[in-house]
Subunit: 109 residues, 2 copies
Amino acid sequence: MAIPLYQAKAEFFRTLGHPARIRILELLAERDHAVYELLLAIDIEASNLSQQLAVLRRAGLVMQRRESGDVVYSVNRPEVRDLLLAARVILRHLIDDQDQLREDLKASG
Amino acid sequence: MAIPLYQAKAEFFRTLGHPARIRILELLAERDHAVYELLLAIDIEASNLSQQLAVLRRAGLVMQRRESGDVVYSVNRPEVRDLLLAARVILRHLIDDQDQLREDLKASG
DNA sequence: TTTACACATGAAGAAGTATTCAACTAGCCG
DNA sequence: CGGCTAGTTGAATACTTCTTCATGTGTAAA
């Protein structure tokens, strides 16, 4: 095996690099969700949702269980919440920067 | 414009989803580096390195300046460090989980 | 057991990203 | 200025990842 660590990191970030997977994680960070709930919230095809859930499962980020009829997913690593938060902070700054740039251009042009 | 936020987040994570870019950010999180230093540390072609630096620049994560002859890069958003740290923590757990699984398999098989 | 529903999987074409090569630009020194 | 070195860019091909569709599996109710 022995995958270099920086490659594992890159793979990990790529796992997060999809709009549907981000939404899934954010919903699951709030509380556990059944598949049909995710389906209602996310607006993609059922089979696509399954694929994305499979990606997250393979990465070890979420877990599946069966509960009185339907399949319920939960976040396996609570730290995911911290990560999403850290990302949100940076993104906020990046977007502010962009807005600032736009302002400056408007003012000078 | 008006890109949904979860899409911006996904894009942001994809920006980090490349081994070379991770290494660049980690090196720059430590201290500023000239391009030739990155080149020595990372072992990819110069033009490839430039491409990856361009990706990070476009994302607004790093900055370029010229300093007595050579081009020096620095991290634009100090919070990147927090993010990389949060990722490291999760990754550590994920890898531990995997190891544990391997152990269990070995013990039971 | 048969039917029905909810979810998962495999495979294939479409879409996106990486790596490489060749050509270009910016700054520096003779 | 002319040529040199360091870094960047664009474009082409190779590689990954997405999305969709057809099919498979599991559970529950009839």
